[in-house]
Structures are given as structure tokens and as C-alpha cells.
Symmetry: C2
Subunit: 214 residues, 2 copies
């Protein structure tokens, strides 16, 4: 049974998992869940993932995994080559910290359910954009010196890691929200490297079967 | 050189790491950083952690680790006994997903910097409490069936895991924000078990050297 990834083209959490699957060379079926039509709240999907959030990965042998960080760690344990984490334990902690900055301290503050809740509180479009930019900038300010120090082409070292799986979708989101990336030359350099890497290029939102023309 | 944990008694992210250190039986020095006095923005601390967030763990041999999830994973790799993750890879993914629900989808939406930003947007005390309760309830609704299914005393199985390190501080926060825990009997049962476990009891905010009387 093949892997099945429940995904939405533009959502950044499934985008992370697509990159991981591509880096590992794992083929998968793409099961679109349209967030704009709230299909994540449909019973069929909610039965798979009680959080009614994307992604979910059906492993094809009776398990459905949720939470992109947990899925990527699973993938790296089950399919260790090429590794998503360095060998040295301090280096692993650094890569995981970089990933967590995106996964915990940037993305959750900006996703669709938060945008809706801010709207309900009377925050207008411009206010929501400022909110989103604020958390991206806060996180990128912390990531930039880490990438500058540890990156050699990729966010950590000269091969893709978990940190790139998280960072590249966040850069995509930053561009959507018109964040000025000029203060982050190290992050931009990694984004440029990854844009030319097939695992990242094929995972890009615009390449997904459910992509909508802009 | 001893481990040094930069912590604030009431913050939930360092509370997670205190539980982990206690479970592993690792002694550490407690370095208080008063968030209410914004000491996390002082140059001395910002030099350790560019995110100016807690916790940071000085490993005593020239490394400073940040991000509680990354610190706990490091701890489990360097000091494997007792393990914070089960052996089976699907079980590990489940425990990590439970941890990520707290670390990514509950806590970051409610911490002090978000409360401040909501205030600046004109959201009053009552509105901020509703906001906080909303995300805790969303996360606990997803966690409750996972704990009910997998827990046997602790959140996953009959020994403490990474999931408990994350869940117990979140329950503490839920109580502070007067979240009604009646709909979550499985989570409450785990909280009761952990309250009687020394590693958790000693990590409780009220037991920390910088604790303030309520």
C-alpha cells in the first residue's frame, strides 16, 4: 500500500512533509483537502485527524500520522538515508531548534484558524498582515544568525536537513505576506539553493495537483 | 561543569525541561529570568538565546541549547535512561505528535508575547482569556482521545514520556486560565498520576526558587 499524504497546496505544514518525502525518494499519493472549503472539518478527514488540521500521512499499513514534526522524525527513523539530522548530538539539537522556531514560534501564530479568529476580534486585513509579519520577522531574526553560523548552502551544513524542510515553506509564506527579506541574506541564500534542488522544487505549492492559478 | 537551566517559575516551556531533567535524574543549577521584568530582553540573556525566549540550557561544556522540544530530544539521546520515547516507531510518532499539539498548536498562541500583542490590538482581559481558553480547548479535544486510547497512567503507556513533559505544564496553564477540564477525564487522570510523581512534583512552578506567593 502506498503512502497517502493529505495536503493542501498552499498550506505550509504539508509542504514540509512533501519536501521530506521527496528528499527520501518516497513516492506517495496526494489526497487534496481544500482548506478554503473547510474540508478539514468534514467527517471523513476528521476521522483521520481529530485536530482537523493538515497534514496527515497514511502510512499504508494501518497507521495515520499527524503533526509535521512527528511525521518528519518518523520518516528519518524508518528511512534513515539521506539523513534529515546531523550525527553530532549538539548539531542535532541545533537543527531541531531551528525547526522548532518555525514550527512553534512562527507558523502557528499565522495560520488560517488564527487569521479567522483575529477577524472575529475585529482586526482588519492590514492589522492581520502586520500581525503575521511581526511573528515571521521575530523568528527570522533569531534564525538568520543561526543559518549564517551553521549553514553552508543549506540551513545547517551542506546537505538538506529538517531545518530546511521547515524553513523553505516559511519563506514561501513570508513572500505571500510581503515580508521584506533584505535583512536575512543567509536565509535568502538557502532559499535560492533550495529553489534549484528537485526535492524542494517538486514540493512547491504551485506544482501540486490542487494548485490554483494566482 | 553543571547544567544550568535558564527558567522562569511560571513559564510552561522551561517547566517541560525541568520535568525532563528530573525524570533523567540530572542535577542542574537554576538561573531565574524574570519575564515580568522583561529580563529575557537583557543583553546577558539575549546573548545566550537570540529569540529572547525561555528556556535555554547551558550544557556546561560550551553549548547553550534552546527550544524545549529540541532540548528534550537532546536529553533523551545523551541520557537514554529512562527513555522519554517508546521503542516502536509508530508509538514514537504518536508521542511526538501529542507533544507537538501542545508545543505548536496550544502554547505559542497563549504565551506572554501574544497576550501583549492582543492587548495592543485592543483586546481586553476577558477577550484574551477567551482566546487562550479557545486554543487550549481545541488542543485538549484532540489530545483527550489520544490519551484515552494510548495512556495507561501516563499520557502514553505506563511510564512518563515526552508527551507528559509537555502535557502537565499545559494543564497547569489551563487551570490558571480557568479552563473547565471536566470534558477531559483522561487528561485529568494523567495530571493526577503525575502530581504524585516526584519528577513532576519537584518541577512544579510553586517549588521553584523564583516562585512568588499567589
Amino acid at each position: 500500500m502506498p503512502l497517502i499524504l493529505h495536503s493542501y497546496w498552499r498550506a505550509t505544514a504539508p509542504y514540509r512533509v512533501r519536501i521530506g518525502l521527496n528528499l527520501k525518494g518516497l513516492p506517495y499519493e496526494y489526497a487534496p483537502v481544500n482548506l478554503l472549503k473547510a474540508e478539514q472539518n468534514d467527517e471523513a478527514y476528521a476521522d483521520l485527524n481529530r485536530q482537523e488540521l493538515l497534514p496527515a500521512l497514511d502510512t499504508g499499513d494501518g497507521h495515520v500520522l499527524t503533526q509535521s514534526l512527528a511525521i518528519l522524525e518518523w520518516m528519518d527513523e524508518v528511512h534513515p538515508e539521506p539523513p534529515l539530522l546531523p550525527k553530532d548530538r549538539y548539531d542535532r539539537a541545533t537543527v531541531r531548534a531551528m525547526a522548532a522556531i518555525v514550527a512553534c514560534d512562527i507558523h502557528p501564530l499565522n495560520n488560517l484558524r488564527i487569521q479567522k479568529q483575529l477577524s472575529a476580534l475585529g482586526v482588519d486585513d492590514a492589522g492581520r498582515t502586520l500581525w503575521t509579519q511581526r511573528w515571521i520577522n521575530d523568528g527570522f531574526r533569531a534564525l538568520e544568525p543561526m543559518v549564517a553560523r551553521h549553514g553552508r548552502g543549506f540551513a545547517f551544513g551542506d546537505t538538506p536537513t529538517l531545518a530546511d524542510c521547515l524553513l523553505i515553506p516559511q519563506v514561501y509564506s513570508a513572500e505571500r505576506y510581503a515580508v521584506d527579506l533584505a535583512p536575512y541574506p543567509a536565509i535568502r541564500a538557502v532559499a535560492d539553493t533550495c529553489a534549484g534542488h528537485p526535492a524542494f522544487a517538486d514540493a512547491h505549492p504551485d506544482k501540486q495537483p490542487d494548485a490554483q492559478p494566482s
